[in-house]
Amino acid sequence: MITKADERAVWNALMSVPDPEIPAVSVVDMGMILGVDTSDAEGVTVTVLPTFTGCPAIPVIKADIKKAVEAIDGVDNVRVETTFSPPWTPERITPDGRRKLTEFGLAPPTGDGPVLISQIGLPMVAACPFCGSKKTHLENAFGPTPCRSLYYCDDCRNPFEQFKTV
């Protein structure tokens, strides 16, 4: 059994679990962890918010989380659940996560606050992760994964990807 005080240890373990498609950021950086429940004597429950419904990385993420949390001393029963309530939205990415995404070469989603459904997909400017320029344009709202759009930087002339605003 794990005590309440050890919730911190679970969060620390989660910080070591990368997004399999963007290994530079952790599931905590991406704001994908809705909660950690250590109050149950049966074990620990971690609730995950998938960024996209059809994200093929979800089973991998769930398995990685289970493995990382079970590695904590005294924890042997870990349940990983997913929920769509509330929907994952881009403002859940932490400031640290946004910085790491940019360093990885992936522009973070546009905007700071919650995005209204009427604003999703509107032409928005993504800052180029390579030179920082905002003189960029959208090439394709769809990219190599459900969560990425394709952009082109008119200044440094590099194509780049942006994590979609959803």
Binding site: F52, T53, G54, P87, F142
Partner: protein, 269 residues
């Protein structure tokens, strides 16, 4: 939770799976590379939505999502005929994409007020992703409608074809009464069909496309020889209160011959 709810959600999942499969047939073949990427990505979204919906239904029925997706007989699939039609050409692909996503938006917006909170949350999530599909389809419609006359005429013809099947997306469901009673179905198919027609008509009017969307309200889909060998006569003027499930289309498991080929590919492995 009721079996009627699981059955209703399975029909929605069938729409997404089957159309997602059709979209995926463009992978490697689309007219240009950006559209190859776009249709592949849209296909992945639709199949992802199907997986989430099958998982939801499977939890109620105690069944595996993969079994629901790939383990049923052709006449157990309840997708609308619109979703199973072959891609034909680029014009039909875009017209069908637009008709489906315009209708899907109406359906998902309604389901966001379902009394089943998990279903409502899933509808919200899917609707946010589907925005990109709608914008993509709208963009193409506008581009072709305002372009050279040859493409425009092809598009109009394709829209007429796709819209003939649109009513099949709003076919009266056998689960409808239960859904309204139990609260998980916020609106009746007939009401949603009306919303769809209003939305589609206003968009097409704005593009100056003379397509008779008005006439699709309350009509039934055009039915052809089904996998079970029954031939169901075309009946485009049937009153909506007649109960489309009697001799209905995709929602009661009656499919076109195109579905048989698709089912073979879908379930091969």
């Amino acid at each position: 939770m009721s079996e009627a709810l699981a059955s209703f959600v399975t029909a929605l999942a069938d729409d997404e799976l089957v159309l997602g499969h059709r979209h995926s047939e463009w992978t490697g073949y689309a007219p240009h590379i950006e559209e190859d990427v776009a249709f592949s990505s849209i296909a992945q979204d639709e199949v992802g939505h199907a997986a989430a919906l099958y998982t939801f239904a499977g939890q109620i029925l105690g069944e595996d999502a993969d079994h629901l997706a790939f383990g049923r007989k052709p006449n157990e699939y309840r997708n609308a005929l619109l979703c199973e039609r072959g891609n034909k050409d680029w014009a039909y692909t875009l017209a069908r994409h637009w008709v489906y996503d315009t209708a899907d938006e109406v359906r998902l917006e309604s389901l966001e007020s379902s009394s089943n909170r998990d279903l409502a949350a899933l509808a919200t999530k899917m609707r946010r992703e589907e925005r990109y599909h709608q914008i993509h389809a709208d963009m193409w419609l506008k581009r072709i409608a305002q372009g050279p006359v040859e493409g425009r005429n092809k598009l109009i013809h394709a829209l007429e074809e796709a819209l003939r099947d649109a009513s099949g997306l709003f076919e009266l469901l056998p689960e409808e009464e239960r859904g309204i009673e139990e609260g998980w179905l916020p609106h009746r198919s007939e009401e949603l069909a009306g919303r769809f027609v209003a939305k589609a008509t206003s968009w097409l009017d704005g593009l100056g496309i003379p397509v008779g969307t008005h006439s699709t309200a309350g009509e039934r889909a055009e039915f052809v020889a089904s996998s079970s060998g029954d031939l169901i006569a075309t009946d485009e003027s049937a009153p909506s209160d007649e109960g489309a499930t009697e001799g209905g289309g995709g929602r009661s498991g009656r499919h076109s011959s195109e579905f048989d080929d698709l089912w073979d590919v879908l379930t091969k492995t």
